[in-house]
């Protein structure tokens, strides 16, 4: 079993990291994953997990991954919204864990929206 001693060591290591992330800094990019019944049923759990894992792996201090309820476009779930510090909002639809990894690399790291996953590029309503 994992021991609490091990956790203590982790505590000291994390504290040693110079900058603890600022959760509500206006310079943060916010990634919001829809986690209502519709989102969860459509596969939001692995999408949210992929975002948190990729962001942790790349140590992106300026990215906050959070969740929200149903935003009313259930047919497009899993839906992920990305809010940038300049007020820009991107809505990604029908997300998967693989797509999430690509959004992290191309959009969150390199600042280039992955157009083909956005709601604007999905033409036929289902």
């Amino acid at each position: 079993m994992k021991s609490l001693e091990e956790l203590k060591a982790i505590r000291e290591r994390v504290r040693g990291n110079v900058h603890l992330r600022k959760e509500d800094s206006p310079d943060n990019i916010r990634v919001v994953v829809g986690m209502a019944t519709c989102g969860i049923a459509a596969g939001a759990r692995p999408v949210l997990a992929a975002f948190t894992e990729e962001v942790a792996k790349r140590d992106l201090q300026n990215v906050m991954v959070t969740q929200t309820g149903c935003i009313g476009i259930c047919q497009y779930e899993p839906v992920v919204e990305v809010f940038e510090p300049d007020g820009k909002k991107t809505t990604y639809v029908k997300m998967t864990a693989d797509k999430a990894a690509r959004v992290v690399t191309e959009h969150l790291v390199n600042g280039k929206v992955v157009e083909e996953y956005t709601i604007g590029s999905i033409s036929n309503l289902k």
Binding site: K2, T37, C38, A41, T52
Partner: protein, 185 residues
């Protein structure tokens, strides 16, 4: 929902919206009786008797943004389809306990699925709340209590990546032992 652990994730969101500070999730399994019971108990705002009666109805929701609330009906259906049972006990100001029991040998039994993924997401997405996760299989029991972790962590948050990794491996090891690793001491 394709697996019951997704229902658990969904129902626990109701506890979070009910402003619960402590959410206890229990999964109890008895192989010999083909019995599985899942409960989600919270100390949130609770519901009136009338509300409890209503939440089982798919066309009732407290929301004003839409007209359907499918979370509870889905969970109820998953249990009743196996010949199991479903109940909600709630008191205003005290909290709510939702319990679903299953007959695991029924053809309509859904897989429990990845409970660890559900618990990890609940904990890391709501580091200000406390969770107790208790999973038992016959005589073996695994428990994770975030209040114990917080005591050790002090000011370090539960959603720090290193801490999340720790919780993930604890859940994985706990499950492996439960499902037939080395015998519990």
């Amino acid at each position: 929902m394709q697996e019951l652990s997704l229902n658990v994730l969904d129902i626990a969101q109701n506890s979070i919206r009910a402003e619960a500070s402590l959410i206890t999730i229990t999964v109890e399994q008895r192989t010999a009786d083909s019995f599985l019971e899942i409960s989600i108990a919270d100390n949130g705002c609770g519901m009136s008797e009338e509300q409890v009666a209503h939440v089982m109805d798919p066309f009732f929701t407290t929301r004003t943004t839409r007209k359907v609330g499918l979370g509870v009906p889905f969970f109820k259906m998953s249990a009743e389809a196996t010949g199991g049972s479903f109940s909600i006990v709630s008191e205003l100001g005290k909290g709510t306990r939702t319990t679903a029991s299953y007959r695991t040998d029924h053809i309509d039994m859904l897989p429990l699925g990845d409970m660890n993924a559900t618990i990890l997401i609940l904990i890391t997405m709501n580091p200000d709340r406390d969770f107790v996760y208790r999973r038992s299989l016959d005589e073996r029991i695994y428990t994770l209590d975030t209040r114990e972790l917080k005591e050790v962590l002090e000011d370090v948050p539960l959603n720090a990546p290193e801490v999340a990794d720790f919780i993930r491996s604890s859940l994985e090891e706990g499950e492996a032992e439960l499902l037939g690793g080395p015998a519990a001491p």
